[in-house]
Symmetry: C2
């Protein structure tokens, strides 16, 4: 039976000692996020996750969701009670504006809690995760009346939200979408069409579901320029806020999937359903795009979450499983065999997961803090820089951490040998669940194209240049320090590879864009390794500062890393530098080989 | 609904034009394997696979196997009829000696057919696959009476076979095994104990099952030196060959697994079951080891098989799925969108699978031919060389091709976007099924240790030196040829990396064996890339010879590659050299970094 302990100490270390979030006290919500408040919230969240959500995870997988003949959907046993508890605890609106009943804390707090939730029960966590995106969409683009009518109940958690983009013939290429909207005399619209892959499209957890739906208004232009965004409530909401009749939207079926069985993935049939336009006509895709960074960041966090929980369980098993002896002679001669964690190949596997988890968490928090600053800062220059960085880092977080998260889950499962293939162990569920973040919210190949084709050249490369300058500045500041050399020198080499790859694109993608397309995925992962290497560098600096100050005991409520835990981070950082950063040389070589051999063969030759 | 077409043309090209199997006509069985016989058999096998086994694959996954209260196990609907058809066709004994009713053809023929079977229906293919291992064990180590009593019915296919090694507390470390054997007055033994993870331990396909069981004879030494191998029939066999009473072995339960649901993975309870010693007392592990190369090769073939079938289905989908436009402008302006195969990232993904499939198949056949020569040649020198090479290549084939096979399945699934996560598409089943070959028959970390710790140093490094010399010889023979440079130069670089890594182990593993352990997995994959690169080199030479001879029409029954198909191989070969071989630099860097950061952290720090 898998277990999970939320990495509260590591998060506090990152927030307080690496990123010094107290520096942002001038930004709305950060003043309230004092170290003791943050600690108390995270401890409580971790407890809820370990005690309530973890035990529901396997049951959710086994039982899945059930659609009844009338279109109702029942979630697995225990999900409703757990969701009620989450609503009661006010967890869903923790970062939402206070004017709508939220607690107004930084979105970064939600990012952290989303990691804990996803590690505990990915399928469950998606129900509340999608509410946050829908709330953000309505707050950013909706009218005051729409906000007042829909947002408070969503922030409270008694109403859920969904995103309806995909149609059977139309996924990445939203320009093909056919769902239509017909304007009514009262200014509302009648929405008709079929949407697929709608996570939480129907469920029994909340009183109402606020669907956000992309549709084409009658007479609108073809392609992406004719798409509008609508609010379509499952149950109509009266002007006094009470619930009215059922709207014309129903769950037609739920998908049989590889994993996340506890989340209902619905085919949603809209049949003259009443919808309310959000923002301007034909500007729906733009409205969707402004939410996309947050949604993609949240999916990247799911990759991290799966990596963390599978690491924890693999560590437990490799310490317990006795099999064979250490290569250097028995370590536990009194036992029939040594625990398999004595083997270098097992440790290598565990460390490669751990090295992703710690730096990945740092990257997620760093990106999320940029998001908070971009949305909440009063300083225009700071705001723009933060927006640049968040935009640049988001596809990296989404694409790289979900690829690595899946890889971690597979590698952690491998540590269990044959037992990892057996369902009761729980590891194979993690692998099946960890597969979806690589696909949804823009498959990872799309993330790579977003990075290379949009984020890199945007504003004359301003964001990328700022990133390179920051990492290069870090390298320069520390390269003369012998204690930093094992981390900084390999980072400098990899940064050089990244810059060369960027240059290669600049020189070769103009004349043939396929040169960018063929190298995009490698570039995204190269960027990811440099970003993770930089995060490790920042962690090492913080560790050394704390050790030098004899400040291992930290402040606050006891969730602190002791000196040994801090020193262990130096080992993992070195492992990352020695064993994972060398990959960037191969990535650069592949990128520089260009599109020739990729594009040459005729389609019929495949 | 997934489909599959056996790659008969490619196999014939490899056997006839790359490996020139007619050269081995002096080896038993090869004289009968004339090109037309081979072609006829493979065409027939491919037909059986596509028409009978492919349609049963999803049903097998959905339905799985059922254990009844009395211990009987029912396989999925259709399996029994298909198995009967396989028995009737004489497929199981195709490479078995004619004296036991087989057809005496090279084992390489079985290797090829095993690929087709596994691509079509991995779970099904395991039932017959395990018979081959059991037959080999009895033929090699059994007495004449045992052979006469058990082998003919197994070769015919009406009796199956299993391998019983694993116990709950004992997997890799067989020295811990507890199943006991008590000698009886009549020379037989009473076997008692519990074995787990027994593939096909019980089923309804065959009249009898011949279990091969590792057990410890009462009073035998502890550890691996006290293990013996026994034949334990499910139903006792009378001296006249008729079936007698049920023996004391029963299926206690079947496992719930991530995949291969159509294969019954059984807990087998032995309770004073009658068993017959094979070979000498306490020499069971040695007997097991002689079969291990064949069994591991067969599992490596499963990895290749999953890579091939997922490639074929991804190609079909990416040609049909219309979404977005090519980066260089619309390729099908009359359609609403281009098929996604126009995108470089999609092609890169498909080619990285294809590059593994073609060279992987060559590596499998090359290794299998060494196996045939090692077992059947009359020439002692040739025999020894072949045995060396088969021993060296087997962990590479098993470890590398199953890792890559799973990676291919995941990448192929990714091409389907969200649809790949839906069960009906069939891709997620392939991913779940493709996961097991990485684990069973020695988890891949064990393969890496076998390569680095046993096969590399064996006989003073004779096998490795022969391999290096052969690849170096190939490079030297072709490096001056401009047409060969794109393939040979990168291969030469990677071969250099492999030799440097080997040297590094020689210099550093002696003083600290953890240095070998920490680099073993990287070394195995580095070795694999060089071996695959060498195979591509051999393929390119054969392609150029055929093109130069204008011999694209080939000989035989029409299953030939045309000139375009041959030229396409040059493109895939170049893709491999440009995009996949560069990885060896990173592998060498990781290996040379040694065990320091891997071993430093205390166990409690994980």
């Amino acid at each position: 039976m898998p277990a999970y302990k939320a990495p509260v100490e590591d998060v506090l270390f990152l927030l307080n000692d690496v990123f010094h979030i107290e520096r942002h006290n001038n930004v709305a919500g950060f003043g309230e996020a004092t170290p003791d408040v943050v600690e108390a919230i995270l401890v409580e969240a971790g407890k809820f996750c370990s005690e309530i959500l973890v035990p529901l995870n396997r049951q959710g997988d086994l039982q899945g969701c059930t659609r009844h003949a009338d279109g109702r959907v029942t979630t697995p046993d225990g999900f409703k009670a757990a969701y009620d508890q989450m609503v009661e605890g006010g967890w869903i609106g923790i970062s939402c504006p206070t004017e709508f009943g939220g607690q107004g804390l930084p979105a970064t707090m939600t990012t952290v809690i989303n990691e804990f939730l996803a590690s505990s029960n990915l399928a469950f966590s998606m129900y509340s995760g999608l509410v946050q995106g829908a709330v953000a969409a309505i707050i950013t683009h909706g009218s005051d009346a729409q906000k007042k009518k829909f947002v408070p109940k969503m922030v409270e958690g008694v109403w859920a939200g969904t995103m309806n983009l995909t149609e059977p013939h139309c996924g990445t290429d939203l320009g093909l979408l056919r769902t239509k909207a017909v304007k009514q005399a009262d200014g509302s619209y009648k929405i008709s069409g079929t949407k697929i892959f709608i996570s939480g499209g129907e469920q029994d957890l909340t009183e109402n579901i606020i669907h956000l739906v992309l549709a084409r208004i009658e007479g609108a232009p073809a392609g992406t320029k004719g798409i509008s965004l609508f609010i379509v409530p499952k149950v109509m909401v009266n002007d006094d806020g009470t619930l009215g009749d059922r709207n014309g939207v129903v769950c037609g079926s739920i998908e049989h999937k590889m994993g996340i069985h506890g989340n209902a993935t619905c085919v949603m049939n809209y049949d003259n359903a009443t919808g309310y336009l959000i923002g301007e006509e034909n500007r729906g895709l733009a409205a969707m795009f402004t939410m996309m960074n947050e949604a993609r960041l949240a999916v990247g966090v799911q990759g991290l979450a799966m990596s963390e929980v599978t690491y924890q369980n693999a560590v437990t098993y490799t310490k317990e499983r006795l099999q064979g002896r250490a290569l250097t002679g028995p370590k536990f001669p009194d036992k029939p065999a040594d625990p398999i964690i004595v083997h270098p190949d097992v440790r290598r596997t565990l460390l490669s997961i751990r090295a992703v988890n710690e730096a990945g968490r740092a990257l997620v928090l760093w990106t999320s803090l940029f998001g908070d600053i971009a949305h909440r800062s009063q300083d225009e220059k700071e705001k723009q820089h933060a927006d640049d960085m968040m935009g640049l880092l988001t596809p990296v977080v989404k694409g790289v951490l979900t690829d690595l998260g899946f890889e971690s889950a597979v590698n952690a499962q491998q540590m269990f040998g044959g037992h990892g293939y057996i369902s009761e162990t729980g590891m194979e569920q993690y692998v099946r669940d960890a597969r979806i973040p690589m696909i949804y919210e823009g498959a990872n190949g799309i993330q790579a194209l977003d990075l290379v084709g949009r984020k890199l050249p945007k504003d004359g490369g301003r964001a990328a240049m700022a990133f390179f300058a920051e990492v290069q500045g870090f390298v320069n500041a520390h390269k003369a320090d012998d204690a930093m050399k094992p981390y900084v020198e390999p980072l400098n080499v990899s940064l050089g590879h990244l810059q060369q790859a960027t240059m290669w694109f600049m020189q070769n993608a103009m004349k043939d864009p396929d040169n960018a397309g063929a190298g995009a995925t490698d570039y995204m992962h190269l960027f990811g390794l440099v970003a993770l290497g930089y995060m490790w560098g920042r962690i090492v600096v913080a560790v050394n500062e704390k050790l030098a100050a004899g400040d291992a005991s930290g402040a606050g409520g006891g969730n602190v890393l002791d000196a040994q835990a801090l020193k262990n981070k130096l080992i993992v950082a070195r492992f990352f530098a020695e064993k994972m950063l060398p990959e960037t040389a191969a990535q650069l070589a592949r990128i520089s080989a260009g599109a020739g051999s990729v594009m040459e063969m005729g389609m019929e030759g495949f």
